[in-house]
Symmetry: C2
């Protein structure tokens, strides 16, 4: 029975996709059968693993249109234990259609039944807004991982997101847990990092992961080659940090 | 008659809000009467200039609900020539409502009539997705400014956005121009910057601004104090870069 983790926060560019790709790859590398679902119409998670329109046979667009079951949209990757379902949107018309269909928040939860026994982990990459697709993800998920890049606007987004998760717990998914708050693009000893970290520790100490993802160029470079950082440069600080996170998460799974 | 510039791109965290705040402040500093409209339900543009729920009397939420005219929602700021209309959303329910109302793409265009003779520039901060609010902004705008932070996903977003602008030109606003592509959070001499810049120059050379916004901590620090960078640290590279951009833009206005 897979553990389903949504990677989400209503703030842009804080490393949701980079975390989805690299945590999924790291879990797979640690022998966990892992499925990465791209629920962002930008298709960035798929893109970062080399999936373009040309080599994608079907994806979340087909799943939400009830054209394909989820088990028929999985794609293998260079990493043995890692499978991906790309978004497969590519046009404005298909994006519009998927957004409308996503107003039914149960589609993903139901779709997951066809694959939940084939994997240890299912990770869901979400877009930077709350309605539709993110609501589907949180209705379906066992837990949510919240990436945070230091800055004033990010703190505001965390507070807003936690209120939203409370609402999800009331109306759509009473079992949902917080997997953790992940500090991303972290730069030690800067004023902005100090203010943000102090604020997060004050309100959310128990949720903050031990593992911290540093700002590290290979994490951005790797996406140009359609590879996770551990295939592009396994010794980089970024690749190692996501491996640490994978161990931290899979370590706790055995106790819950 | 105000020149209306939408600041938009369907990619998160690339400096849309930071550009909206600091370009607006810089234009005002150069004696241009400037209005900044926050069309993002996160309320980040307002927040970065010190507007919270407590000190906001009304905003874009009231405008879209036809409760207030735009001329009755403007707030003064510390800078004489700079006015702001905050989003004034603050709750999940109000966010849901505003998103629904924004499906009518003519609301902002019509609302702007009550203020267009009071300003030289109206800047609109947009959320990181295309439908609803961004469509309202581009239907109302004379031009669109496209911020780009180096990276693989950003390049994809630019291509997608230009296709979307073509569609806007066909169905909603045949006069819309590209104000320019703005390189933001720029880090010289990195692999990712080189790949991104080369690609942008190959396809979009004529649109790329001369002014480049460097990665510069004061641009992020200033938002914690509710101030634009030029009030927080006018000598910082970030504050100076946005002043350069303001001069580059207002310089060309006199020739078009
Ligand atoms: N730790 C890091 N160090 C350096 N660059 C990073 C790091 N994490 C992410 N990046 C880069 O920053 C950019 C934004 O990251 P990413 O796309 O993963 O964020 P996101 O939250 O998914 O954005 P969106 O809200 O648009 O979906 C990407 O170009 C990515 O390669
Ligand atoms: N040139 C810069 N140097 C350093 N930090 C920056 C710079 N530009 C923006 N930032 C910081 O990066 C973060 C993201 O910027 P910003 O919120 O302006 O992006 P955005 O595109 O509006 O994001 P969203 O898509 O979520 O609306 C903010 O914390 C901001 O203060
Ligand atoms: Mg993403
Ligand atoms: Mg913003």
């Amino acid at each position: 029975m897979a553990k389903v983790i949504a990677i989400a926060i209503p703030k842009g560019g804080v490393g949701k996709t980079t975390t989805a790709i690299n945590l999924a790859a790291s879990l797979a590398f640690c022998d966990q059968r892992t499925l990465l679902i791209d629920l962002d119409t930008s298709g960035a998670s798929g893109l970062g693993l080399g999936f373009t329109e040309a080599n994608t046979k079907s994806g979340m667009f087909e799943v939400f249109n009830f054209i394909s079951g989820l088990n028929h949209t999985v794609h293998k990757t260079e990493i043995p234990n890692l499978h991906v379902v790309p978004a497969n949107v590519h046009t404005l018309l298909r994006e519009e259609r998927l957004m409308k269909l996503a107003d039914n928040r149960l589609i993903l939860k139901n779709a997951l039944r066809s694959v939940e026994n084939d994997y240890d982990y299912v990770l869901i990459d979400c877009p930077p807004f709350l309605r539709g697709l993110t609501t589907n993800a949180l209705t379906a998920a066992d837990s949510v991982l919240v990436p945070v890049k230091s800055g004033h606007f990010a703190l505001d987004a965390v507070d807003k997101f936690f209120k939203y998760i409370d609402w999800i717990r009331e109306v759509a998914n009473k079992m949902i847990l917080i997997e953790g708050i992940l500090l991303t693009m972290y730069e030690q000893s800067t004023k902005v990092t100090e203010i943000t970290t102090r604020e997060l520790q004050a309100k959310y100490r128990k949720y903050v992961f031990e593992s911290i993802i540093p700002r590290n160029a290979p994490l951005s470079e790797a996406s140009f080659y359609g590879k996770p950082a551990l295939l592009y440069d396994i010794n980089s600080l970024g690749a190692q940090a996501y491996l640490d996170l994978a161990r931290e998460i899979s370590g706790r799974s055995s106790t819950t």
